[in-house]
Subunit: 564 residues, 2 copies
């Protein structure tokens, strides 16, 4: 780990104490082990030392047991006598990870040690070969991989909707990896299947469906969750589509706002509906869908003989963080008998906050909701839920009755074998990290997390709304943590608002962003939108961030952009 | 962890040495830390102890730092002064995981501590509440979750195609969780994006595409990989389907064998093609697709004016482990200009073996291949690749040009921003565990793994083929590790081969399986297939298994089934 001066985990002899002064690693390990395991330390020590072996006093290496790590992976479990090297190896890995975790939150550490793709390809040999490498080399690869990784948990990483690194979520994800199972049946994932049941029910209760009834699934991301919603809406209206395909049904039309996520179009392309059949509804200046335009376009489609089958309202758009007016959308969906989906991938987290959940008023009238706890709620990637109000529909839509997996003559309650309602066969366990975080934080903890991030966004908004050199992309306090703004370098401040200025302004954010990445001090996203040239979209979902980090971002933008 | 007598990790005072004899945990930790981090141990120790605090000598708890674990998660990073409790907490989690890992390979430990869903729901409070819990409770949840988990790495767990627990793969998955990023751009996953590039290229080379050229992606499981193949095949033939949907194209027909995976039908249902348009081709008695029937059904479809667009041959069927005759299928696909997909989710691993790869001869002529390293190659779940021979097609098929994610004015080579060729938006990092395992084992290590598992299957086959009380479901040596057989209890051995015998035989496997799970000693799958009543399908993908484990399985089946 190359960053200098980054806290107590950095290597080197800061205080002059040599390694020879320290006790042997095996001995120290042994002492720890004795503590952990009650009275059986001697047994473990025998394993660590071997019968007559004494702990080596030499050292100076990063790794726990250098002699073991010069071995190949075949010395690890399940190898005979594999416990000792396995524990040493995994503990070494853990030390590397713990070091990274601590550094991730250290503001003196870079967010990113940027290298261009060609540099990275040339600086290191990433190729796959016939012959095995030593475990020591494997540990070096782990270090190298993390050296070049983006510290997504860093308090000054604002680049994506998913940021932060929750310690309980991380622990839960480690456990998930260790359990290494699959969600398709209770038979092979009993606890995780029950936790999915409990957690989805709780999420439905929070959405406001009576008694938390309904259905749902954790899917590999919001795009797939949205695609599920389209599939289920289509199946509800035309169940014959499952067997007969789109040829058997009239032309279906989906509606979503022009600020909505591109996954609606991706889904329509995949599902054989076609992107032309996704009508983009106009938004107001804050990025909210205009209900009258929705109704107009529904009528237009119906007049053409097409069948409106889905409206996807967005609760928390990707760029502006806008919340579509769900109550008005619900009224229209009810009037025209159209499936109402709410893409709350980003905004769903606000349902945890008594202060902010009003922004999703009407979500309880939706037929389906996408809600990604891996975004605003800080759950490690990936954790996306699709929730469906009507029970049984997912199962009917997707089931294929594979008899090798979903045997009907098992000895337990088969209603817990939920795999056949998925589009996937094998499905990763995504629920445990959310469930464990929820136990650790409580609903009130998520509320505090959400409230804090929104307060930080408001703090940023208040700083820049009247500050020289900034222009807001839309007026008024942000509803989510998205704060969209242009930084105007001094050289552009006196220019007339014409094409040349726009053209020059469009180049500002990319240059500042590139410099941010090269310095590695912070990261924030930018993009154009419609007729608006490149602007910064600041988002905050990491509770590690503070007012000082917001101040730092502003100063950094000004430092890096003032000469442009 | 309740299993008694399961090796040195079990708790209790086996040798009478009390905890008070052991050094304080913090002190032991400190010694370890000093070793790991060179000369800065004093700094870390100050953190661990506080300035004046002395290490506590009392103990007797499982956990590292009981006093800290009575705290809430808010004491962990990113909290101010969060390092100390974080390191203690994560180390405690790690101890729980290491214990589970060691137990997973211990044959005296149960594979499963089975409880019925209702029991499990009642025995433990899994509900989500408003208020946070202590970290100590969180650690207990981790223990409880693992107590009831299936030990999928256990040498006697044969229940699924994905078994085993590779130590390097596990380490890599922990690192992946810690890096907590997303595959969509080089910007936020530089190393992982490059490793995906390197690894997919290597896999294409092994398939036999010249220079490893082509395209691909790691997707959330084989079902989604197969769905990608259908989408891309459809797009290649009718690119207008992306915008216009299925209404704009003729009726498309896909062909796959009657033994193929149900995901082909799931995919067809999702994509608006419809399950009726998936024609199931007859198989021979070994479960291999019959090429003449394929050609007949293609001609039949064409005569009806339908358009055959995809043949999905299977390399390693789920139940029989059969390999379709790929060369013959390739000839037919070439003749009729149909996209040839090979679903090698299960059989792809055999490409790593010089001894067995001939079973996939012809795969190099496929247009696309599904290959799941999380199955035969023992990579932790999930790791599924779709490989495509023609470059650029995936991108054209799926891209939507979201400008907030795939900015065109970034400062690095944009060809590494591969996210827009995915159906997903956010995508989990699935490549690192495969890449790191490959470095650790080398191609030769995977070869040895595959060869060993196939040898074990042959061993099983040789034992039971002539043993009293067994009938093979199909004749001859298995081509994959699937060994399909009936166990015939003594009471059925003298019965005539009539309906009553079939009916009684169909109940044998479910009862034996239920007993296996209740005893927790081993697990193996069963299912009916076509007119064949419930039979056992033994599969081996875990290199931890030995001849003795196979012997054990046989004895266990006989022990649990002899009274039926």
């Amino acid at each position: 780990m190359a960053s200098p001066g980054s806290g107590f985990w950095s290597f080197g002899s800061e205080n002059g104490s040599g390694d020879s002064e320290n006790p042997g690693t095996a001995r120290a390990w042994c002492q720890v082990a004795q503590k952990f395991t009650g009275g059986i330390g001697n047994k473990l020590c025998a394993l660590l030392y071997g019968d007559a072996e004494k702990p080596a006093e030499s050292g100076g290496t990063l790794f726990n047991m250098k002699s073991l790590n010069s071995k190949k992976c075949y010395y690890l479990l399940p190898a005979c006598d594999g416990e000792r090297p396995t524990l040493a190896f995994l503990q070494d890995v853990m030390n590397i990870l713990l070091q990274y975790v601590v550094k991730s939150f250290d503001r003196s550490t870079k967010v990113i040690d940027f290298h261009y793709p060609n540099e990275l390809l040339q600086e290191y040999n990433w190729e796959l070969a016939d012959q095995p490498q030593n475990l020591e080399e494997i540990l070096m690869h782990c270090q190298t991989t993390l050296k070049y990784a983006i510290k997504t948990g860093h308090p000054r990483y604002f680049n994506q909707l998913s940021t932060g690194l929750d310690m309980v979520g991380l622990a839960a994800d480690w456990l998930t990896s260790t359990a290494n199972t699959n969600m398709f049946t209770y038979e092979i994932a009993p606890v995780f299947v029950l936790l999915e049941y409990v957690t989805l029910k709780k999420m439905r209760e929070i959405i406001g469906w009576p008694g938390g009834s309904g259905d749902g699934i954790f899917s590999p991301g919001g795009a797939i969750s949205n695609m599920y919603a389209m599939m289920i809406a289509r199946f509800k209206m035309f169940p014959e589509v499952k067997e007969k395909g789109m040829a058997a049904v009239p032309r279906l039309i989906a509606f979503t706002s022009e600020h909505s996520h591109f996954s609606l179009k991706k889904g329509a392309a995949a599902l054989g509906i076609g992107t032309d059949s996704v009508i983009l509804i106009k938004c107001d200046e804050r990025g909210k869908m205009i209900p009258s335009d929705l109704e107009r376009r529904i009528l237009e489609a119906k007049q053409k003989g097409f069948v409106p089958f889905l409206v996807s309202a967005t609760a928390g758009t990707t760029v502006y963080g806008a919340f579509d007016p769900l109550l008005a959308v619900a009224d229209i969906c009810k009037k025209y008998k159209i499936w109402m989906h709410v893409d709350a991938a980003w905004g769903g987290g606000l349902l945890m906050s008594r202060k902010h959940k009003w922004k999703l008023s009407g979500v309880e009238r939706a037929n389906s909701v996408t809600w990604n706890p891996h975004k605003m709620m800080g759950v490690p990637l990936q954790c996306s839920a699709l929730l469906v109000r009507e029970e049984g529909l997912m199962q009917n839509c997707n089931q294929m009755h594979a008899s090798y997996l979903f045997q009907q003559d098992k000895h337990y309650d088969l209603s817990y074998d939920t795999g056949d309602k998925a589009l996937q066969c094998g499905r990763h366990v995504d629920v445990f990290k959310l469930w464990l975080m929820w136990r650790a934080k409580g609903t009130t903890g998520f509320e505090a997390h959400v409230d804090k991030c929104l307060e930080l966004a408001e703090y940023l908004y208040n700083i820049i709304k009247n500050r020289e050199g900034y222009e807001m992309v839309f007026d008024g306090k942000p509803q989510h943590t998205n704060v969209c703004f242009w930084y105007i370098p001094p050289s552009l401040r006196t220019l007339e608002d014409n094409e040349e200025r726009m053209s020059r302004l469009s180049k500002v954010a990319p240059v500042i962003k590139a410099r941010m990445m090269e310095y590695g001090t912070t990261m924030v996203s930018y993009q154009p939108l419609g007729d608006k040239v490149n602007f910064f979209r600041m988002v905050i979902s990491n509770p590690a961030a503070t007012h000082q980090d917001i101040d730092f971002l502003i100063e950094e933008i000004e430092r890096l952009g003032q000469d442009l």
